[in-house]
């Protein structure tokens, strides 16, 4: 399928300076590498929200993958990416889990998504970390939140990455178990349930992580499931690329366009039309907490090379 991804790249690169400002970039600072500005800068929260450490992957993408920009191969980005990974390692609970909303929360969501992001970062720029992730992989292997498919898909990616880094087969098996569960729970309509129902926004997020898993594992049942899920997503999108939040089980307001725009001409056409009319929610519209995640998605959509659709 032809790609017209320049608009995603343009929007993403326009948002990057804002996201870089989230981080403590001062070496020697006790919070060097922390991307939760409310914690390290404003000092109004009493713990660092782990979700902001997904910035590690944003930095790695900018450093290594996004060609022809002012960021490519710039050493500070490499150092900040490593600092973000190190800070993530330092804020884990003793069991390897992480916190999103309050200290000692042990959030499956935060652990799954941030472990996936920091390990993607390590793999993307070749940082020398592997065994440091074992505790988190063990925690993700032993814990589940099957009523929330997107988190399960993120956990599968995190575990697969940690298997790749450590070579420990037990994490590949744990990753496979999460995926098997998702495949079993896929609705005949094609969606993966979120608290028992269909939610187009979270479905697009699950598609993103299932697709990542497929690219790593090459398991054809996953590819088939993603294709079916994309058809289900197609049915929820209006011609301006947006969804009806009132219809979803979690009332999500926006979708993650990548990789669905590559797997469905209809989604691509509708979403690009929405972007042209400024009718879809982009990373620029979101608050700090969710901006990073959608920004990374846009950046992946806009990658010029090395991206398989």
């Amino acid at each position: 399928m032809d790609k017209d991804t320049s608009i995603f790249r343009q929007i993403a690169l326009g948002t990057v300076p804002r996201a870089l400002g989230f981080g403590d970039r001062a070496p020697g600072s006790p919070t060097y590498g922390c991307f939760d500005r409310a914690y390290w800068h404003y000092k109004v929260t009493d713990f660092a929200c782990a979700n902001f450490q997904e910035a590690a992957y944003l930095l790695a993408l900018l450093y290594a993958k996004v060609s022809g920009t002012r960021y490519q191969k710039k050493e500070p980005l490499y150092r900040w990416a490593e600092a973000a990974v190190k800070f993530w390692l330092s804020i884990r609970n003793s069991d390897g889990s992480l916190n999103e909303a309050y200290p000692f929360e042990r959030s499956f969501c935060a652990t799954a998504f941030t472990a996936a992001a920091v390990t993607e970062s390590v793999l993307t720029i070749g940082l020398k970390y592997a065994n440091e992730f074992i505790k988190s992989a063990e925690w993700l292997s032993g814990n589940d939140n099957f009523s929330v498919s997107n988190q399960t898909a993120a956990a599968a990616v995190a575990l697969y990455n940690i298997y790749t880094l450590t070579g420990q087969e037990r994490f590949k098996s744990a990753s496979g178990r999460k995926i098997d569960h998702l495949l079993k729970r896929q609705d005949p309509d094609g969606f993966f349930p979120e608290y028992g129902g269909k939610d187009a926004g979270y479905l697009s997020l699950t598609i993103w992580y299932m697709h990542k898993f497929y690219l790593k594992s090459r398991e054809s049942p996953v590819k088939d499931a993603v294709a079916k899920a994309v058809l289900s997503l197609e049915r929820e999108l209006n011609s301006r690329g947006s969804i009806d939040p009132g219809k979803g089980s979690r009332n999500t307001q926006y979708i993650y366009p990548f990789p669905s725009i590559c797997l469905s001409r209809k989604i691509r056409d509708y979403y690009l039309a929405g972007l042209g009319e400024e009718a879809v929610i982009t990373p620029q519209w979101l608050d700090d907490r969710y901006c990073l995640h959608l920004l990374i998605n846009y950046l992946e959509a806009g990658l010029e090379e090395g991206q398989e659709c």
């Binding site: 300076p17 001062a26 914690y39 929260t45 009493d46």
Partner: protein, 58 residues
């Protein structure tokens, strides 16, 4: 000086008791300004530490 759960508990106890009074609320503000902003090396400035493109040159 980072916020910690202990400090936050103390702050909230103050906010919900003495802090209800305008006098004590203003007093707390004065103490915080003295502690965090005035006469401190590397003093706290809210509108700072945003990304600057020149950082990529280092």
């Amino acid at each position: 000086m980072l916020m910690t759960p202990g400090k936050l508990i103390l702050l909230r106890l103050f906010n919900l008791s003495l802090g209800r009074s305008a006098f004590f609320s203003r007093l707390l503000r004065k103490v915080l300004i003295r502690l965090l902003i005035k006469g401190k090396k590397g003093r706290y400035t809210q509108c700072s530490r945003y990304f600057d493109i020149r950082e990529l040159e280092n």
